[in-house]
């Protein structure tokens, strides 16, 4: 098994990246790490539970707006408070939304999540006094570990303390998700995905397990969203738009939804590929649309599927 070796190499290079690579590429790692957290959660739904959400941007924007509201209006600047607050807000919203959505599967699940996402989008857009409308809100630089880091320039702050903070969050989120998918709970989810009737007859409460998965993925999305906002310093309603939800599903598929690390690879490939394409050709959607079409038609296993083609198929998510 080469996985531990690869992981060790990836871990070391991520840890030393700010020291050796140009600041620009280090700042690109920030959205990668934020989306990485989002996608780990999304893939619990997609890969493990077999439910494809087309409205997960809803929870990303809850996390991002939580950071904006807390730092600009409520004077709460500690990232250690913003992340749990965003997660809590997402859980409060996801509890009823998820309970309704998990009654359906396949396309109806996708449509219902899309509709909820668009409700929140229109709310952010139209309720100007609360949300800043289409201009959104500013996100002030959060304190990390109780320190203001006021001596740091914006770039130094982002590629220094903020980078490592995000990395720690991503690593913790990955370890936790690893435990979740390998737990009996993760096994139940895969059983439900493969054969809901059999799962039911084995005594697994199908809606309840799907609801748990929905809640976990919503919390992950909010934590990722809260990490995503401070580097840009601004949040706006497009974070909740349906195309954003589509893009994150795209990232999961690009990396490979049936592999645990696929979504992380997908986020990485998406961010860096987008940057490369945009630097030579302004129409990145054209290229990305073609890439997505190619993956859907010829390589549904994504990059991970292409990389591991020669090896026997592993149990998805395990």
């Amino acid at each position: 098994m080469r996985t531990p070796l690869v992981l060790a190499l990836v871990g070391i290079s991520t840890a030393i990246a700010p020291l050796v690579s140009p600041a620009y590429y280090v700042t690109l790692m920030l959205p990668f790490m934020a989306y990485g957290v989002v996608l780990l959660g999304l893939n619990l739904l997609f890969g493990s539970a077999g439910l494809v959400s087309f409205g997960h941007a809803l929870f990303i924007s809850i996390g991002a707006y939580a950071g904006a509201v807390l730092t600009t209006h409520l004077g709460v600047r500690h990232m250690e408070l913003i992340l749990p607050a965003g997660a809590l807000a997402a859980a409060i919203v996801a509890a009823p939304v998820g309970a309704l959505c998990v009654r359906y599967v396949k396309i109806y699940f996708g449509m219902l999540t899309l509709a909820f996402g668009m409700v929140f989008y229109t709310f952010l857009l139209k309720f100007y006094r609360l949300t800043g409308g289409d201009e959104g809100m500013r996100v002030l630089r959060p304190y990390l570990l109780g320190r203001e880091w006021s001596g740091f320039s914006k770039t130094d702050y982002l590629i220094g303390p903020y980078y490592y903070f995000s990395l720690v969050v991503l690593v913790l989120a990955t370890l936790l998700m690893w435990r979740i998918v390998r737990s009996p709970f993760g096994l139940c989810l895969r059983t439900i995905r493969d054969n809901p009737l059999k799962a039911e007859s084995l005594g697994i409460s199908v809606p309840r397990y799907r609801w748990y998965a929905f809640m976990i993925s919503a919390v992950y999305a909010a934590v990722g969203g809260a990490l995503l906002a401070p580097p840009t310093g601004n949040v706006d309603p497009t974070l909740a738009y349906w195309t954003h939800s589509g893009n994150i599903v795209f990232m999961v598929l690009l990396g490979g939804f049936s592999s645990f690390f696929g979504p992380l690879l997908g986020a990485f490939a998406f961010i860096f590929l987008q940057d490369t394409v945009m630097s030579v050709f302004p129409y990145w959607r054209l290229i990305f649309g073609a890439v997505l079409a190619f993956i859907v038609i010829f390589a549904p296993g994504g990059l991970m599927g292409l990389l591991s083609r020669r090896r026997p198929a592993e149990v998805p998510g395990a």
Partner: protein, 295 residues
């Protein structure tokens, strides 16, 4: 007061006429191919741009401005031929795949078409100017309504009837309904599904591009218009019931008028109200108002 009410209603019905065309395209494809085509909105945008270009070419080459509707419609219909390319080049590979992948393939189309439009026509909005005022204004109960809008409403109604006639009274319509109902059986009885799929998808695409072409004289074409309209068309088909033409008609009327009323009464509610209705319908009646009960 009545004048205001008529204005609100007429603008709602105009919007509904356009929405119906796009939603009908979505429905006919979903009914037969079982693919929820997110790219319907992109076809609509493509039709709008092609329509503008055709009209500009026509007027620029000395065509009488009063006849601008001819190149407009022809341009819209011609843009619909892209449906053949899309069906043969992409969709035919995924008919027996999971619907998630089908949905994502149409999302790939959304991405590609959006940038193709930007590459071809640029990012600035394009329009046909005030050409539509050539047909003058009609006064209805004290309100002023452009005659062009009435023409579009009439055309959409005629198309609705035409689709109804096609589906229920012609041989092709019977084949479409049979294929929608039971693909294997239709195939066993000798229906060439390949040709049905091409024709149905092109029909669906043309309804979308025609809708885009018809709307454009009264507004301006923007590259985001497709991804904005698809979520409204989505609301229409969910409320009406997936795959149902009658549902598309009633749903479009409901969404168009309700949205227009909401804008005039309490603008913040606009689409929020529509999506809340969508959620309510999905929860209490997932098959929609006119859809068949799920098996």
């Amino acid at each position: 007061m009545t004048a205001n009410l008529v204005n609100v209603l007429m603008s709602g019905i105009f919007h509904a006429a356009i929405l119906f065309l796009v939603a009908a395209g979505l429905q006919v494809v979903f009914g037969v191919q079982k693919i929820f085509n997110l790219a319907c909105g992109s076809f609509y945008a493509l039709g709008a741009y092609t329509g503008v270009t055709a009209v500009q070419y026509f007027v620029g080459h000395g065509g009488p401005p009063a006849l601008f509707i001819l190149p407009l419609v022809l341009g819209g219909l011609a843009a619909g031929l892209i449906g053949i390319v899309v069906e043969r080049g992409l969709l035919r590979f995924v008919y027996d795949r999971d619907e998630t992948f089908q949905l994502l393939l149409t999302f790939a189309l959304v991405l590609m078409l959006e940038d193709l439009i930007r590459m071809t026509w640029g990012t600035a909005p394009v329009s046909t100017g005030g050409l539509y005022l050539n047909y003058g204004q009609a006064r209805i109960a004290g309100a002023t309504v452009p005659v062009y809008n009435l023409i579009v409403i009439g055309a959409s109604l005629a198309l609705a009837l035409g689709i109804g006639w096609l589906l229920t009274r012609t041989a092709f319509g019977r084949i479409i309904r049979a294929a929608a109902d039971n693909r294997e059986m239709a195939q066993a009885l000798g229906v060439d599904m390949r040709s049905v799929y091409i024709r149905v998808f092109t029909l669906g695409t043309m309804l979308g591009t025609l809708g885009g072409a018809l709307v454009i004289p009264s507004t301006a074409a923007m590259s985001e218009m497709g991804i904005e309209l698809i979520v409204e068309a989505f609301a229409v088909v969910v409320i009406g019931g997936l795959g149902s033409m009658r549902g598309a008609f009633v749903g479009a009327l409901g969404v168009g008028v309700l949205r227009s009323v909401a804008i005039s009464v309490y603008p913040e509610l606009e689409m929020l109200l529509i999506y809340l209705i969508v959620i309510a319908v999905l929860i209490w009646r997932p098959q929609g108002l006119f859809g068949a009960a799920p098996a």
